[in-house]
């Protein structure tokens, strides 16, 4: 009870009695909410008005502002307003608020851009992003050529670290997912093939789809989500904390130190991860075939040898370095695009993953068309 009565006496209130507005309670920013509404609903008398503040227990800048705003608006409509019962402190606060010279009313808002302006800005931004990406790839290529000419400039240490991070640490998740994918394909395909009495061809199905298409793709997608995002976040955060500028000022090209080791590591790691995914996927298919279709491991492997040509295997592996280059360049480029805030790091990381996955799938489709034209 005591608490609630204290609550009610703390609440800021204003009552209009004749031509006197009696204010009471805590006129502090935390308790002002009811006042804002009350004041906007009052019917002001025509004549002069007194505002009595003797019952106000506390006043802060927020309360002083509301009071100032009220007297200003009343005076501007031609009424004489007098304040009564101000404490010394309240007088000081009101003086402080008045001295800022701030006018009540809506702030000058920046003009919202029109449709054409937005379209124009959007186009220019996209164009600039495209040009930026192309020139980034160019810089990357130039730096890479420089290192190829002078192999002593290659940062082996950074390269090895990036290899461990992008390759070795990804084995678990890549292996698990491709194993499960192999199981799913063998299960779904096996049920259909069994109806035609062609159970054995499940080895063709699992083997070819994994090795040619699915293993490179699923590996690239996992790596884009896992490693590409990490590249963007790392470089982006370094950008925010001025570490990139620090590298530059120490005479170290960020491209050499940060980008190339990552690019090279991924170009090496992704094909290897893809081979691992091939093996795990086929293993998953083999396990499922033996459980569900009762195909012995030896029979499965024998059939696999007939089904998968060296060409198919190389087609799958050959796509991996291209995917790696795409993921690493988009990841690093987006990292360098970060500006200023933590929010920007998050936004760029999202963009990096989305663009990488999209680019990987589009390029994969292009590969499929090219290979079928070439008859591989």
């Amino acid at each position: 009870m005591a608490a609630s009565s204290q609550q009610s006496s703390e609440r800021a209130a204003a009552q209009l009695q004749g031509e006197c507005l009696r204010c009471s309670g805590h006129w502090t920013v935390r308790h002002l909410q009811p006042i804002e509404k009350q004041l906007s609903q009052l019917q002001w008398p025509g004549g002069p008005l007194r505002i009595d503040l003797s019952a106000v227990q506390r006043l802060d800048t927020g309360g002083a502002w509301v009071l100032h705003r009220l007297t200003e608006s009343l005076q501007s409509s031609g009424r004489a307003v007098t304040l009564q019962g101000l404490s010394e402190k309240a007088r000081g606060l009101l003086q402080l608020v008045r001295e800022t010279g701030l006018q009540p009313g809506p702030l000058p808002q920046p003009r919202p851009p029109g449709m054409i302006e937005e379209l124009g800005r959007g186009s220019v931004d996209s164009l600039q992003a495209g040009v930026g990406m192309v020139s980034f790839i160019g810089e990357m290529g130039a730096a890479w050529l420089g290192q190829v000419m002078h192999p002593r400039r290659i940062r082996w240490r950074a390269l090895a670290d990036a290899l461990v991070e992008a390759g070795h640490r990804a084995l678990g998740i890549v292996g698990l997912l491709s194993f499960l994918l192999g199981i799913v394909i063998a299960y779904q395909g096996g049920v259909q093939l069994q109806q035609y009495g062609a159970s054995l061809f499940v080895a063709d199905l699992v083997g070819l789809s994994m090795v040619r298409e699915l293993a490179p793709m699923i590996t690239a997608i996992i790596v884009a989500g896992r490693t590409g995002s990490a590249y963007t976040a790392q470089i982006g955060t370094m950008q925010v904390t001025e570490e990139i500028d620090a590298l530059r000022s120490l005479g170290i090209a960020p491209m050499d130190m940060l980008v190339l080791p990552k690019l090279l590591a991924l170009i090496v790691a992704l094909p290897l991860l893809t081979v691992f995914a091939d093996i795990m996927g086929v293993l998953g298919g083999m396990l499922m075939s033996s459980v569900q279709l009762e195909i012995a491991f030896s029979t499965f492997v024998e059939r696999l040898g007939v089904a998968i040509s060296v060409d198919s295997f190389l087609v799958g592996i050959g796509k991996a370095p291209v995917f790696a280059a795409i993921i690493a360049s988009i990841g690093c480029y987006q990292g360098f695009q970060v500006s200023g805030s933590a929010e920007s790091v998050g936004r760029r990381t999202t963009v990096s993953v989305v663009q990488s996955i999209l680019a990987v799938i589009v390029v994969d489709a292009a590969f499929s068309i090219a290979f079928s034209r070439l008859g591989i």
Partner: protein, 261 residues
């Protein structure tokens, strides 16, 4: 739980036998400190003496390893998480690098605590936020800028405006003048003094800046060797014969500040 009647109390914050360790490393122990209503208390000490840690403990951002802390009449140990959050609303903190939210413009930054805790209309919140900006010497145009577009001095001012958005009972300032040129630092000192008088707030600040100590602080606390070495007004400390105090304040930079003060 409602806040105590602050008018009836004089001690805003009192620490008893405060101890802080990070693993094996002792930062300070047996530390007793009172902060009086309306004073400006400065905490000084060499680098690594635990000034900022002490400030963070008092601002309820870090829990001391041992000892008790009473703030605004509340025993901190006895408070649950929700009550702690409520006490924090009565505390303003100016972080060393401003810690403004990079995704919002300055006006929105100052409006964050107002939007969260008052339930006022957006129009009034924007007005009160602009008022705070005006109080720290920033214009309405500055309010539309984003934190990464601000100079160091403006960033400190904007962060101060956010810290005083709810008219806190206690204001903690971590290195308010660090990274500012002497002119801006002097202007910031004047701003702190002006606001303290106008808003009648209690301020605890950590600083390296001897000029700030002479100009702003009512009372100075010197930390070192894991304890509170000395406290008193700047004039008293400058006269002290205690070796640790003499070492700290009587270096060439300390003397220069004294002469100019």
């Amino acid at each position: 739980m409602s806040m105590p009647k602050p008018d009836s109390q004089q001690v805003m914050l009192s620490a008893r036998a405060l101890e802080m360790r990070f693993g094996d490393k002792l930062i300070h122990q047996h530390l007793d400190l009172d902060v009086q209503r309306g004073e400006i208390l400065a905490i000084v000490g060499g680098s690594g003496s635990g000034k900022t840690t002490l400030l963070r403990e008092m601002a309820l951002l870090q829990q001391p390893t041992a000892g008790s802390l009473e703030i605004l009449g509340q025993q901190v140990d006895a408070l649950n998480a929700a009550q702690l959050m409520r006490v924090r609303r009565h505390i303003g903190v100016l972080f060393q690098n401003g810690a403004l939210f990079g995704g919002q413009n300055v006006l929105a930054n100052v409006g964050v605590p107002l939007r969260e805790h008052t339930g006022l209309s957006d129009a009034l919140i924007d007005e009160i936020a602009s008022l705070k900006l005006a109080l720290v010497g920033l214009s309405a145009r500055d309010g539309q800028l984003f934190p990464n577009q601000l100079s160091g001095g403006m960033r400190k001012r904007a962060a101060l405006a956010r810290a005083i958005a709810l008219d806190p009972e206690i204001l903690f300032l971590d290195e308010p003048t660090s990274g500012l040129d002497p002119l801006s630092a002097g202007a910031f000192d004047e701003l702190v003094l002006h606001l303290q008088r106008a808003l009648d707030s209690t301020i605890v600040l950590v600083t390296h800046d001897i000029d700030t100590l002479w100009r702003v602080a009512d009372r100075v606390v010197l930390l070192g060797e894991g304890r509170l070495i000395a406290q008193g007004s700047m004039a008293e400390l400058a006269r002290s014969n205690e070796p640790a105090v003499v070492r700290f304040f009587q270096g060439p930079r300390g003397r220069a500040a004294q002469v100019s003060a």
